[in-house]
Symmetry: D2
Subunit: 327 residues, 4 copies
């Protein structure tokens, strides 16, 4: 089908390419004219403004928005809505907060427009492997867009089917790599929790490798020290172990290139999803120790010493002075 | 080669079968004569005592011990050592604490015997998929046993090779699913950390699904509630997402069979490796928030309310009474 | 001075009594006429409506609001503002979220009214001991209300002065038990963090006593078991130890009454402040492991087994089956 | 009574002084002859060797050992035991691991000697305030030493009595600041948990103040920023608030001297007790999230960036590259 792609950064550009490769027509727009020209050279229909995009689409127009931050996404949706005809559909494929989706869907509904939110995982590998998608929005609109989702998704590929999945109780799209999770916001909500889990998984591996590395310390008894080859440890765990995963594949790749990871500062950024996941846990009164502590580990990685650390020292000085026997 | 398998439980029995399928000869012994008879019917050489095992092996005898607990393993090793000829090799394939390996290796060395520790992952799936193995012990003994490890290991199979692995700096065995990690204890140490990571990964998924499930709560605003199909969520994450993993495959399998997991009590056991990993972190002064908190979540799953919980209530009563405005 | 007290629950009633004891005049109002009558019998000026309150105050009127929940507080403030004359002052002494204070102060300012937020600690003991107060709002209004705060505060009492406090760099009111923390919301913000710390302190004691109690377990080696008298342990720590505190006094009191704390269910409630503190930590990217985990421990105390626990069991079943040697 | 004090560092020296002030006779010994001479000038009986100490004591001799580390304590106990007459008593007032106490008590018992372990809190303030003591050992020996403990303890002082303590069910010594906790090791065990709690309390305050301090950040919306006077906040919380404590007194003192705590590096040491407390929690399968995470915060304070942090960055690079929309 014919679809606008608004935002041609690495994610938007690659999605457009994957869609075109599957036979869809893409009307491409970005504030950066070079990005538009580049994609047009690969077969996209270039547009010079949102109005121009609309002129080049068929009604009802479908807009896939792939922008880096919430404010720009909101502004773009407002601009599209201002000139929209009833029945047009806005699809936000970025990383929006699911409560923003709920708000947007309501506002658009009042104008006769539909809104679909798509949480997407797969990163820079998605163009080749396909994108795992979690979708929120009205049933019939999601159904109408199925060819688009099917083209973006990885499909069943070589991954084994899960035994015992029951027809009628499960969504066959899940096996193709996308689901219709529920109404507005449900897609980004599931994606948000996905990223929260991702933080926890990453931190679990990170701590494990820290313990392996620390085992070479000369503070340990000599016969309890091991100078382990972490590149090989990561590799062997990929093969038949209970903790094999795609993240472990990436660890193995990273260590194969640079066994000491010296190119990385270790100041680890965090995106909104981690914080939102903790917020959700608090709203639901669900204890989420691991996901939260994984987020805090990232905060901690970005500072050297906190005021709180100094306060600990100050207390220790206060009660212990320079005593022979520390408290 | 010819090898004794001592302990024919599910793990030992299946390993023996996998070894025989690869052409190795197994002298099988277990306290349970039925288990011995069963394996003999599949081609193993039955033995009725440790002495009988030795009589049926060639010198230097190689003993693979696959027993459930440390004390039995220790007693068995002592019994083997008592009658051993110099050069015999004891291989512990169970879940021993690595400091026990160090102690045993020293004691056996004094008698001219060798000791190899093998941490094994793969569980009930290992017979078919192969076992991921982490090996500690003397270089030349591990090399001599290579045909055994190669037969037990999964081999390269269909898992992609990691790009950039350098010859000479990495161990080619890692790509086959086993490594020689270092001297005595190194195998079980790496396996121990593996299990520590496993705890963290499992808890990360568990918390994420708890947050997904809690999102249906009628305590939340109506338009922020989602009644998500967790079976489908697990399935879709297997396909192209950043958090795909073998554990997630198992989750998808479990949810496909029983979407509410009602057959499980949720009282989660923990094996020694989780605790030992935390001990190791403390010996190295490595912060291991996630791995530790994952262990504590299991402890907490096994009790209803702690004395500490009641103490919190007692304090709240103490300072707040039945005040209108709670503290 | 003359002051309205709106809300005569345990907190509001006791504050009114403490203020009257110090010579202030209280115009008392509550939806519950009995509460008004009771306080009038103790010397307060009874009022039957907000308008009646205003009629009995002098201009500019000062309203101290002491209501249990945010929504009622908001509605009450709106009702007061609707009939207010310029210069009137609303003081919220409840447990409002500091961002609500900021919003309210702005809205009232537009009508020429002032707003003061007062975070209060002391609970049911406050009438006798005095209330520790953290105040936000305009400098001159807080100064004008100083006699009120001074009367409510504990004063210097028998608590030692902190050596080294410098005149000019510190607020002398702090030594009397109240501070002007900053502009609108600052009072409740400091109170909120206070409660966050309280959660952490409480949980630290709770865990410690859990470990003491668990030491009697017959799963431990016999000579490593201690059947400790926790009532005495709490008492002795009150006297000269580094961890003496008012919360510990309450623990000692609770254990003296009921050494097993059997009257308490251990289902521990949490108020908004704990969650808001974690939110603040996330907004600031400050790692707050202890405060957050203390909150999560309360969530966990209120459920028996989580879905996540069952998922852990399901995974363990998935990879381990009934194997002899658990993974 | 007459008592040897072995180890005249700040703790041992001050204890000796407090004992002498109460009329006890101290035979003083230290490897540092100057320390002995200094205490002799204050009234102690100087000794030049352990044998000399024994010669100057009456039988059965009582030895109070106050040494900084476990190994030296063990060596000293061995040396005393080697020349001891039956009935002599060794008292370890240092920070020994309680399992070492159990071992030592057994070994000494075989020689007809008694062993008492005393966990002591109070730090540099103890000489003046008295020492809070938790005692393990045989009932009759602890009873015989009561005058010594009574002299070291703070006594009831100005601290309020806990209402409801029942005669017969509680130990009256607790109100004087010392308890007989149980058999060998029980004293140090209770002291160990005390220190574990101390870690948790300290970290709770540290995190709270970190959040207060972070509230001035210019990354926050302007009307949500507060530049709080932390010196005053600490002071006001000492007065009538639920979180008042001796540690908070120390915080107030520290901030009064140096509001930015600039003299402290924030690299926070940890003593054995924190680790042992976590070990005990693991042996008992008690979840101790707060105490453990407080320990880990100290580990983290001592390193800049961990290998694990870098691994997180490596994974993020692996799946996200330089994508416009981060995962």
């Amino acid at each position: 089908m014919k679809l606008a792609m608004i935002g041609l950064g690495r994610m938007g550009g690659n999605m457009a390419r994957r869609l075109m490769a599957a036979g869809h027509e893409i009307v491409a727009f970005d504030r950066d004219a070079d990005a538009v020209a580049k994609l047009a050279a690969e077969g996209a229909i270039a547009a010079t403004s949102l109005d121009d995009v609309r002129a080049k689409l068929e009604q009802p127009a479908h807009w896939w928005i792939m922008l880096p931050a919430g404010e720009i996404t909101d502004a773009t949706i407002d601009a599209i809505a201002a000139g929209a005809q009833p029945g047009e559909v806005v699809i936000d494929g970025g990383n929006s907060f699911y409560k923003d989706d709920i708000r947007r869907a309501k506002a658009l509904k009042e104008r006769g427009l539909d809104y679909v939110d798509v949480g997407t995982s797969g990163g820079v590998w998605g163009r080749e492997r396909g994108y795992c998608m979690m979708i929120g929005g009205p049933e019939e609109v999601v159904a109408r867009l199925d060819p688009v989702f099917a083209a973006l998704a990885p499909g069943m590929g070589t991954i084994d089917r899960t035994q015992g999945r029951l027809d009628g109780q499960t969504d066959p799209r899940a096996e193709q790599g996308y689901i219709h999770a529920g109404p507005a916001g449900a897609g980004h909500f599931v994606k948000m929790v996905h990223n929260g889990i991702e933080y926890g998984l990453m931190q679990a591996y990170a701590e494990g490798f820290d313990i392996l590395k620390g085992k070479a310390s000369d503070k340990l008894p000599e016969d309890e020290r091991y100078d382990l080859n972490l590149t090989d440890v990561a590799e062997v765990w990929r093969r038949g172990s209970v903790i094999s995963s795609w993240l472990l594949d990436l660890i193995a790749l990273g260590l194969a290139k640079d066994a000491k990871l010296e190119q990385f500062s270790g100041h680890v950024a965090d995106s909104g999803e981690g914080r939102w996941t903790v917020d959700a846990a608090m709203e639901e009164a669900v204890p989420a120790h691991v996901l939260t502590t994984a987020l805090f580990a990232r905060y901690r990685s970005r500072v050297e010493n906190t005021f709180g650390d100094k306060m600990l020292s100050a207390m220790r000085f206060g009660f212990g002075g320079h005593v022979e026997i520390p408290q």
